[in-house]
């Protein structure tokens, strides 16, 4: 059952004025796997996630989740269906305590605030957030802690599919390793399928089952990390776009 299709993206396109951000991209994500989505700046990775999670309405193409067409549905509806995401640029709740922020996520699946808080506690502990800081306000915690809260908030909505948008950007190497373990744990123990957008190759190569490469809004190639690493197209794409 581990390779049942969870999300199917069918020839998705999105334009901003003149720029074509997504050009007829098709891909599928199977249940239980970790898919790394890589590509140079402006490849359309984040745009893809935004289209899937309903932040943007795609110009053409379909998004099918669990066999249901969710194209262009508003974000909160899609969240209910079971797709969650984190943000490249953190979106912190400065004036809410850590536990409150995560509880807000957990309340998607229950009306009972007390239950939600208990779930939030579990999630936070699961991803190894220091218990001593649960009651801290958002404005008083560090960047990595924000990333963790952001992650916990998303997990708390009990998604089937979770997109991580550059979750380790701006973190120090040892912090990256911490997150890597957390991500693997989420996938294995919580049975959450993951789409991981990344720049940090070491990180994404190490955790992904499959890699999808986007380039200038097109799907360049996909395969196992090893295959992709060897793929000349990929190498050329990265070198080609290296700032000289």
């Amino acid at each position: 059952m581990s390779n049942a299709v969870l999300l199917e993206v069918d020839s998705l396109s999105k334009r901003f004025g003149g720029i074509v951000a997504l050009n007829n991209v098709s891909l599928r994500i199977n249940e239980g796997e970790i898919v790394g989505i890589i590509g140079p700046n402006g490849a359309g990775k984040t745009t893809l996630v935004n289209c899937v999670t309903g932040i943007y309405k795609p110009d053409s193409g379909k998004v099918i989740f669990l066999g249901e067409d969710i194209t262009g549905k508003p974000p909160h509806v899609i969240a209910v269906k079971g797709i969650a995401r984190t943000w490249q640029k953190i979106r912190p709740f400065y004036n809410m305590s850590v536990i409150e922020a995560v509880t807000a996520g957990a309340l998607l699946r229950t009306k009972d605030v007390l239950r939600a808080r208990e779930e939030a506690t579990e999630v936070l502990e699961f991803i190894g957030f220091p218990r001593s800081k649960f009651e801290m306000l958002g404005k008083n915690i560090t960047l990595i802690e924000h990333k963790l809260v952001d992650l916990a908030r998303a997990i708390a909505t009990k998604p089937k599919l979770l997109f991580l948008d550059e979750v380790v950007a701006g973190l120090r190497p040892h912090e990256v390793d911490v997150i890597a373990d957390v991500v693997k744990k989420i996938n294995r123990e919580m049975k959450i399928t993951l789409g991981v957008i990344e720049h940090v190759m070491r990180f994404v190569m190490n955790i992904s089952d499959r890699i999808v490469v986007l380039h200038e809004g097109r799907l360049l190639t996909h395969g196992t990390p090893a295959e992709v690493a060897r793929d000349p197209l990929v190498v050329e794409a990265y070198l080609g776009t290296k700032p000289v």
């Binding site: 974000p75 943000w87 709740f93 004036n95 605030v113 808080r117 009651e135």
Partner: protein, 330 residues
């Protein structure tokens, strides 16, 4: 222990209970001196209005500047029904609440539908007050009513102020409880999330539009209900009841008190009202407008130094008390 409190009714009802009981003693303590009772009454009504605002402004983070549009609409409706058709305010206040809620829905639905927020939301609400002000003149002519003297609970109007004060106190208690309940309920968590970041809120499955509208309607219906109390405490009403400056003043109390902090807003309303009256009584003739000048300065200071407002003080205070009480019994 917040986890535990968030469950029980106790922590929701206790504060309002204390407020009621403490408040109830005031008339006795001042020996039924009408001046102090009236001052208490006006403070209580102002606190109620500010705490109603706290729901849309404090929790949902929408800078609403239309409070007196809803107060005026609901209040004038209830009062007119009483004057013209001798209908008891007990009914009229609920009708007023209904009409204000309806107005809020009519205004709020498109506003949120078209994603109007921030300064534009503030401005449209400010505009709403002006529109009602002028519209009321167009409909009723330049009107200036004095509530004819009728006494008794049927009219909730009395020669002395005590009864009205007790009634308003009960209303305040209800509003405090409502605030505390909301802040501990799913609605509260969602509103705060919306206040902090609408996009992130959407992404965790919160129907931002729906919950903002809900908050607005609750707020408006409370004000529509209070409207009659406000007017009967003034004895007269006119098209000036739709007051822009007053509406801004309410928002100021909410901000100075600290967004979403019940204790903060409550004490802010009381302090500002009492300071204002003190200055009127003792300096009024000497330096016109001094108290408003002070408020302005206070507002600037709060904005720059303490965006969290009085709450930073009151919250720590309440927490300290809690802890003390706990130590006592463990």
């Amino acid at each position: 222990m917040t986890q535990v409190n968030s469950r029980n009714i106790f922590s929701i009802v206790l504060p309002s209970l204390i407020v009621v009981l403490a408040g109830a003693t005031i008339p006795f303590l001042v020996g039924f001196n009408q001046y102090y009772v009236l001052l208490a009454l006006q403070s209580v009504i102002m606190a109620s209005i500010a705490l109603a605002w706290n729901i849309i402004g404090g929790y949902a983070g929408q800078l609403d500047l239309a409070s007196f549009a809803y107060i005026g609409l609901g209040g004038i409706l209830a009062t007119m029904l009483m004057i013209e058709h001798n209908i008891t305010p007990w009914l009229g206040m609920f009708l007023g609440a209904g009409v204000s809620a309806a107005l809020a829905f009519i205004i709020g639905f498109p506003l949120f539908r078209f994603g109007i927020k921030g300064v534009w939301y503030a401005l449209s609400t400010a505009a709403l007050v002006v529109i009602l002000h002028e519209a009321s003149i167009m409909i009723l002519g330049p009107f200036d009513y004095y509530i004819p003297f009728v006494e008794g609970w049927y009219y909730i109007r009395f020669r002395t102020w005590e009864n009205l004060y007790y009634f308003s106190l009960a209303v305040l208690a209800f509003i405090i409880s409502l605030n505390l309940y909301i802040s501990r309920s799913k609605l509260g968590y969602y509103l705060k999330a919306i206040r902090e970041d609408e996009v992130a809120a959407e992404a965790v499955g919160i129907n931002v539009r729906k919950y903002k509208l809900l908050a607005l309607v609750i707020y408006a219906s409370i004000l529509g209900f209070i409207g009659y109390l406000y007017i009967v405490s003034q004895r007269t009403f006119s098209y000036n009841t739709f007051s822009g400056p007053q509406s801004v003043y309410v928002a100021i109390i909410g901000i100075v008190g600290g967004l979403g902090s019940v204790s903060g807003v409550f004490s802010a309303a009381l302090i500002l009202k009492i300071v204002e009256e003190y200055l009127r009584g003792y300096l009024g003739g000497v330096l016109p407008g001094l108290h408003l000048l002070l408020f302005g300065t206070l507002l600037i200071v709060v904005g720059i130094l303490r965006p969290e407002g009085l709450s930073s003080l009151t919250d720590t205070l309440t927490r300290k008390i809690k802890v003390k009480v706990l130590r006592w019994y463990t």
